[in-house]
């Protein structure tokens, strides 16, 4: 194993160091001056290996049979099988979990971004009574521990008869996603010069028309980033989603935990279900790679 790892490290290293062409020679010189010795590729490479090992192990397990998982220790699947994935895609109690998750996550993303857009505009363009306090209060909701809200949420949504519906989870996740969306969008909107607004108003645009026709296209990338982060934080949250659902709207992550405790032995299916929950994030991450720091820092980088 260690042999394998170091070999792939060496291959990577070669690729990294031989990549720059003649055209980038000056930048190479500058970079050498800035980064000191040429061993700097080693640190990120080792770190990425550390990050990938547990994920590799999960993927590896998802293609093994249960017999192979429990009885022998193998670094790659000897008897390659797709049975674990077949179980998930053929059993409604499994794949409905994915459908449930996606429904409430999408609902939540749409609601969050829709209400956050005008609010973020207000915060970035105007001063009004209590604006700073309001902005701070929104932040506290993003930072609030979900555990504090679990019990009251359960009772609130029971009172409205919303338990085990998708909209309940979507609304509950607004607790931290709306503030997040407001903060991210405010960050992007502050980058748009105010003169654009003023010119549009002089040209006779009404506010709604200006907002939809001119402003929204200008901050399209910001909306994309905000939507991505709402999607992501709703997707990774489990505690609230699990508490507010019983069967009909149960998210996939809750179904997973239930299976661990109940049968406890079907490791292959568990691993396959885990791999399938990683895929949505992995697919879109490429598009937001340059904004990801900004999103996590609530639009403040």
């Amino acid at each position: 194993m260690t042999d394998d790892a170091s070999r792939s490290t060496v291959i990577r290293a070669d690729a990294t160091t031989s990549a720059p062409t003649v055209a980038t020679r000056t930048s190479r010189l500058r970079r050498a001056g800035r980064n000191g010795p040429r061993t700097s590729w080693l640190v990120p490479t080792l770190y990425i290996i550390f990050l990938m090992l547990p994920i590799y192990w999960l993927v590896n397990m998802s293609f093994k049979t249960n017999v192979e998982i429990t009885s022998s220790f193998t670094l790659w699947p000897r008897t390659f099988t797709l049975r674990n994935y077949a179980v998930i895609f053929t059993d409604p109690s499994w794949y409905n979990g994915y459908i449930n998750s996606i429904i409430y996550v999408v609902l939540n993303t749409v609601i969050s971004v829709a209400v956050a857009l005008p609010a973020a505009y207000a915060f970035s363009r105007y001063r009004f009574l209590g604006d700073k306090h309001l902005f701070f209060w929104l932040l506290t909701n993003r930072m609030a521990p979900p555990a504090v809200f679990v019990l009251p949420f359960f009772q609130l949504y029971s009172a409205f008869g919303l338990i085990d519906t998708h909209i309940a989870v979507a609304l509950a996740h607004c607790l931290f996603n709306v503030p997040l969306a407001v903060w991210i969008l405010e960050g992007f909107m502050s980058g748009v010069p105010k003169e654009i607004d003023e010119t549009a108003y002089i040209d006779g645009y009404s506010f709604p028309r200006f907002f939809v026709r001119i402003f929204v296209p200008l901050i399209a990338s910001g909306i994309g980033v905000a939507a991505f982060f709402c999607f992501m934080f709703s997707w990774v949250e489990l505690l609230i989603a699990r508490t507010l659902t019983t069967t009909d709207a149960k998210p996939i992550s809750a179904i997973m935990t239930r299976t661990v405790s109940a049968s406890g032995l079907d490791w292959g299916v568990l691993a396959a279900a885990g791999v399938l929950t990683i895929i949505p994030g992995a697919l879109v991450i490429y598009f937001v790679r340059n904004y990801i720091a900004k999103g996590f820092a609530l639009g403040r980088v």
Partner: protein
């Protein structure tokens, strides 16, 4: 940016206000309500005043959970922040390596938190996990189900695995925004690698580092899912952090009153840190002309 005074902007904020009021203020008022009342069931409540708060502040269980959580957050910060800065300094600046690094490093951040728990639960198992098996082969007695130290190490390594990338990404964003002129000037002056870091890069990363520290503190302070999946708060109560304890009390034992009191104290601590965060952010914003 100078903003005009306009109270009509309130109408634009109104939807957010209503929505978040529904999902934050009403639940929070319920908690306040419970924290001053007791019940013998049948939805009959009576006033007990601050009894639950007194009980909470005298309960060793709460202080232990708080202490454990603070120690956990301190260890997390002490490891993740320097490690994150170090990795960010060594990241490539140009070429295809940048995208590869960013995408791969961000991957753990996008995994559902309980799957993170599951990944490490499996990874650390002595019989079927790569880490546990390797350690056992090396003759190290490692069992996170029974050994408190192993449980702590597992939870901490898991958190490093999960969240260090956040620090890396933030620092990297701060580093790339430093104009090249600074480095050229440093080169002309013959500055050493260390002084470039100490006098150019570190001061320029100030702001992102503060964000990183505060975000990491808040998130590690309310950690629930990952340790819950891996250790379930055990062995014993060794890895029972505040959130785990709170959920155990509220949902598991349905001790509504004490749980509500604990929620409020918990929330106040968070509020305090949040205020620091906000003050820092807005002060920096004004300095940089935003």
């Amino acid at each position: 940016m100078d903003r005009t005074w306009n109270n009509k902007a309130w109408f634009l904020v109104l939807p957010v206000l209503l929505l978040v009021a529904f999902s934050a203020i009403i639940p929070l008022m319920t908690v306040v309500n419970y924290s001053v009342q007791d019940t013998f069931g049948n939805n009959v409540f009576f006033w007990v005043g601050v009894e639950w708060f007194e009980e909470l502040l005298h309960s060793p269980r709460f202080w232990q959970a708080l202490l454990r959580n603070l120690i956990f957050s301190a260890i997390i910060l002490a490891i993740q922040i320097p490690l994150g800065v170090f990795i960010a300094l060594n990241m490539p600046r140009r070429g295809w390596g940048v995208s590869v690094c960013l995408v791969l490093m961000a991957l753990p951040l996008l995994i559902p938190w309980n799957v993170v728990g599951t990944i490490w639960q499996v990874f650390g198992r002595v019989d079927i996990g790569l880490l546990g098996y390797t350690l056992a082969r090396l003759g190290i007695n490692y069992n996170y189900v029974q050994d408190p130290l192993a449980a702590w190490v597992t939870v901490i390594v898991m958190d490093i695995w999960h969240w260090t990338s956040l620090v890396v990404l933030l620092c990297y964003a701060g580093l790339v925004s430093i104009p090249d002129a600074y480095f050229q000037a440093a080169k002309i002056d013959g500055a050493s690698r260390w002084s470039v870091f100490r006098y150019i890069q570190l001061p320029k990363m100030n702001r992102v580092l503060l964000i990183a520290v505060l975000l990491r503190f808040m998130d590690s302070f309310m950690i629930y899912t990952e340790p819950f999946v891996v250790t379930g708060g055990g062995p014993g109560n060794e890895t029972t952090f505040l959130s785990i304890d709170l959920v155990k009390m509220a949902i598991g034992q349905f001790d509504v009153g004490p749980a509500a009191a604990m929620s409020l104290v918990y929330f106040l601590i968070v509020l305090l840190v949040c205020w620091v965060f906000y003050t820092v952010m807005t002060n920096y914003g004004e300095e940089s002309g935003r």
